[in-house]
Symmetry: C2
Subunit: 109 residues, 2 copies
C-alpha cells in the first residue's frame, strides 16, 4: 500500500462534495452532445431565433427547442423576445471559452 493511498483514505480532502460533482458533471454533459455543441458554436458571435438555428443546422424545430431549453436551465444561453421571435445568445463566458479552446485543440491534432 502506497503512502499516497494511506494519505488519501479517510480524508476526503481528495474527493468532491456531491453538489460540486453535480454542477461540474452537468456542465460538461451539456457540452457532450454534438447538437448542443453545434448550437453553442453558432451562438459564438451572434444571436439567432429558434427557427434560424433549425434552418442553419438542418434540425427540427422541436429538437432545437428542447436543446435550448436544456442549455437555458444551465444558464448557458439566454433569450430576448421580439414579437413572436425569441433570439437566443450565449450566457456563460467560461463555458464558451472552454468550448472554443477544445475545438481549436481538436482541429490541429
Amino acid at each position: 500500500m502506497s503512502e499516497e493511498y494511506e494519505e488519501a483514505l479517510g480524508k476526503n480532502e481528495n474527493d468532491l462534495d456531491e453538489e460540486t460533482l453535480f454542477i461540474v458533471s452537468q456542465t460538461f454533459k451539456a457540452l457532450g452532445d454534438p447538437t448542443r455543441i453545434r448550437i453553442l458554436n453558432l451562438l459564438f458571435n451572434n444571436e439567432y431565433s429558434v427557427n434560424d438555428i433549425a434552418d442553419i443546422l438542418d434540425l427540427r424545430q422541436s429538437t432545437v427547442s428542447h436543446q435550448l431549453s436544456f442549455l437555458k436551465n444551465l444558464r448557458l444561453v439566454k433569450h430576448r423576445r421580439e414579437g413572436t421571435f425569441l433570439y437566443y445568445s450565449h450566457d456563460d463566458e467560461h463555458v464558451m471559452n472552454m468550448l472554443k479552446q477544445t475545438i481549436e485543440h481538436a482541429n490541429h491534432s
Copy 2:
C-alpha cells in the same frame, strides 16, 4: 430574416466538421460523468492503482476498470505496470486544466 441568418446559410463556415464534432463531444462526454470526474480529480497529484482508486472512492473494481478503460481510449489517462499492479495517472494537461477550472468555478458560485 436577419442579415446574420443570410450570412450563415449556405456557408458552413459557421458549422463544425463531423470529425471535430466527434472529438469535442467525446472529450466533454468523458468529463460528464460523476464517477469519471472523481477518478480524474483523484489523479490530479498522484498515480494510483485500480484497487487504490476503488477503495478510496468506494467503487467496485470492475466499475473503476471500465471507466479507466474509457478514459484510456481517449488518452486522458495512461498507466505504468509494476508487477501485477497498474498505476494510472492523468495524460492530458488541457483536459485536466479544464476540469480544475470548472471545479473551482462551481465551488465559489
